[in-house]
């Protein structure tokens, strides 16, 4: 964990309400699933930093893929090339390293895409299931679909692209068709994580989920972001955001 200055190199809309931010920034080495806390305001509006998954962190370039949700992300979208953004990170524990024989299945929903994409870009194997509302909400489609070794499967609620329905519907199909054991990595809405975790349990797959909680500090000092696990309270920002799905008391 370090506090470093980021300088906006690029901040471009890549889908409906979704932006890709590239910062020139000397962040220490990170792993997929870790995140940063960005200071989006100069003053106190908003008062706290905002958490974002690290999409890329190479060659002194930090990549963040974010969706406009409220005031903080709106301010972020107003940043122009050359503006400063203070960065605290890398934070949390990332996904566990994969070195087995299993088929990897990635599950991504909504703002859950960035950490999953980061992991898939790193592992370069497996099946990536992405669920969104509709086609125009898929960011970086060409980047995702051209990922070497990774097969992309889409699910849209409105059926505008890929299968009509939820990412978890696709998951059920996929796990039926895979021979051998499966390892699942998921990030997205709570409902999706719960369904994914239940599916994993059913088929006896190893499953890691990355959680989102409101974070005031992001580095473990306030215990504002705890989640109940089989081992008691755990700080999402410090012991997570990635957890073994079976430990979470959803």
């Amino acid at each position: 964990m370090k506090e470093v200055r980021g300088v906006v190199r690029d901040n471009t809309r890549v889908a409906h309400d979704t932006f890709l931010l590239s910062l020139d920034c000397d962040l220490p080495v990170s792993r997929p699933g870790q995140f940063v806390m960005l200071q989006v305001a100069c003053g106190y509006e908003p008062f706290l930093r905002r958490p974002f998954a690290i999409l890329g962190n190479q060659a002194r370039t930090l990549e963040i893929l974010y969706k406009i949700k409220g005031h903080g992300t709106r301010l972020l979208a107003e940043k122009r090339t050359g503006d400063n953004v203070n960065v605290l990170g890398p934070l949390g524990k990332g996904f566990s390293v994969h070195d087995g024989e299993e088929t990897i299945v990635y599950m991504a929903g909504g703002t859950g895409l960035p950490p999953i994409l980061s992991l898939a870009e790193n592992l370069r194997q497996g099946i990536l299931i992405l669920g969104v509302q509709s086609k125009d909400q898929i960011p970086l489609l060409s980047r995702i679909s051209s990922l070497p070794g990774v097969e992309l499967k889409l699910a849209t609620i409105d059926g505008s692209c890929g299968r009509m329905g939820l990412a978890t519907d696709v998951l059920d199909d996929v796990v039926c068709n895979v021979s051998g054991s499966v390892k699942i990595y998921a990030c997205g809405p709570k409902g999706m994580l719960l369904a994914t975790s239940e599916c994993a349990k059913r088929i006896g797959a190893w499953c890691e989920v990355s959680l989102e909680e409101f974070m005031s500090c992001g580095f473990g000092v306030c215990t504002g972001c705890v989640v109940e696990t089989t081992g008691g309270n755990r700080r999402v920002c410090r012991e997570g955001p990635v957890f073994n799905a079976q430990e979470i008391l959803f």
């Binding site: 964990m1 370090k2 506090e3 200071q39 106190y44 509006e45 908003p46 008062f47 706290l48 930093r49 203070n86 605290l88 909680e213 409101f214 005031s216 500090c217 580095f219 473990g220 000092v221 306030c222 215990t223 504002g224 972001c225 705890v226 989640v227 008691g232 309270n233 410090r238």
Partner: protein, 302 residues
């Protein structure tokens, strides 16, 4: 120019800037980004006799220029602290002040007794807790209840004892005097202000615990007045807490009567603010040829 300040007998801070309780955990995380020996002192998360799970989530909500928390005093318990955390803190050249609380007078005594160990410079009592034996009224709300509690803890420990007052009282001076008479060595002024947030889209309270405590820059003007009031009626040091985020805030609180300050919420948003606050305070003193913190404390011109 000397930024040191003796906040109680034998407790010398190298500068008047302390971490606040509950926003610094037990120091480990902050130690990853700066050398804790730079701090005036460390105040740790409030400890209870047994580990405490705290309140349901959400526990934190952001407000205009501040935040509300209802952590519910989650902590690892006094024994785990002494065994697992205190040795770590002992590495740094800065006083460790341990915040603690209880649900009844006996629990305060028991926790204080277990904190009578090496490596702890002073104790800070959080008295904004409900007294379960007295129908849940906060210890820090009535002078006689506070007097009794502080006296009992006072007789248990030889460590310097700081009492952290509740802000939402009829007259904080009564409480300050009660704590002083009962033997407090310093007064922290003050804790968070009771508050709540409601989500008009769900019709529900935002916090799992319904209500919480307001902190951050929003409450600074209130904390400044409390410190000013308390300073004028006691003769023990006052430690300020509430909305401190810059060295200018530090100078203002010192002028109002504080001998040291605690930085809480501001360090959640900006962990490195400790360094800029400490450096800014020293630079201000140098620029204005102020030789010691005592030349600022209570020196408001009226």
């Amino acid at each position: 120019m000397d930024t040191r300040v003796e906040i109680a007998k034998g407790v010398v801070l190298k500068n008047p800037v302390l971490s606040a309780s509950g926003t610094f955990a037990y120091g480990e995380e902050f130690s990853e980004i700066f050398d804790l020996s730079l701090l005036g002192g460390i105040i740790t998360k409030g400890l209870s006799l047994k580990p405490k799970k705290g309140n349901p989530c959400p526990r934190v909500f952001e407000t205009t220029a501040g935040m509300i928390n209802s952590i519910g005093l989650e902590n690892i318990g006094v024994d785990a602290f002494v065994q697992e955390k205190l040795p770590f803190l002992g590495q740094f050249y800065t006083p460790v002040i341990v915040n603690f609380f209880g649900n009844e007078e006996e629990e305060y005594e028991q926790v204080a007794a277990r904190l009578d160990v090496d490596g702890i410079s002073a104790l800070e009592m959080n008295v904004s807790c409900p007294n379960v034996k007295k129908g849940g009224i906060e210890f820090g709300k009535e002078p006689d209840i506070l007097y009794s509690l502080v006296s009992r803890v006072r007789s248990i420990t030889r460590k310097p004892l700081f009492v952290k007052l509740s802000p939402m009282v009829k007259d904080i001076r009564e409480m300050a005097l009660a704590a002083q008479e009962a033997g407090a060595d310093a007064l922290t002024c003050a804790n968070t202000i009771p508050a709540m947030a409601i989500d008009e889209t769900t019709w529900r309270p935002v916090l799992g615990n319904i209500t919480g405590g307001l902190s951050g820059p929003a409450i600074k003007p209130v904390a400044l007045k409390l410190v000013f009031d308390v300073y004028q009626c006691v003769n023990i040091p006052v430690i300020a807490s509430g909305g401190i985020a810059t060295y200018r805030d530090v100078i203002q609180f010192l002028l109002a009567g504080a001998s040291a300050v605690e930085v809480g919420s501001a360090s959640l948003r900006d962990p490195m603010c400790f360094i800029s606050i400490i450096e800014g305070t020293a630079a201000y003193m140098k620029e204005h040829s102020i030789e010691s913190v005592a030349e600022l404390t209570g020196k408001l011109i009226i």
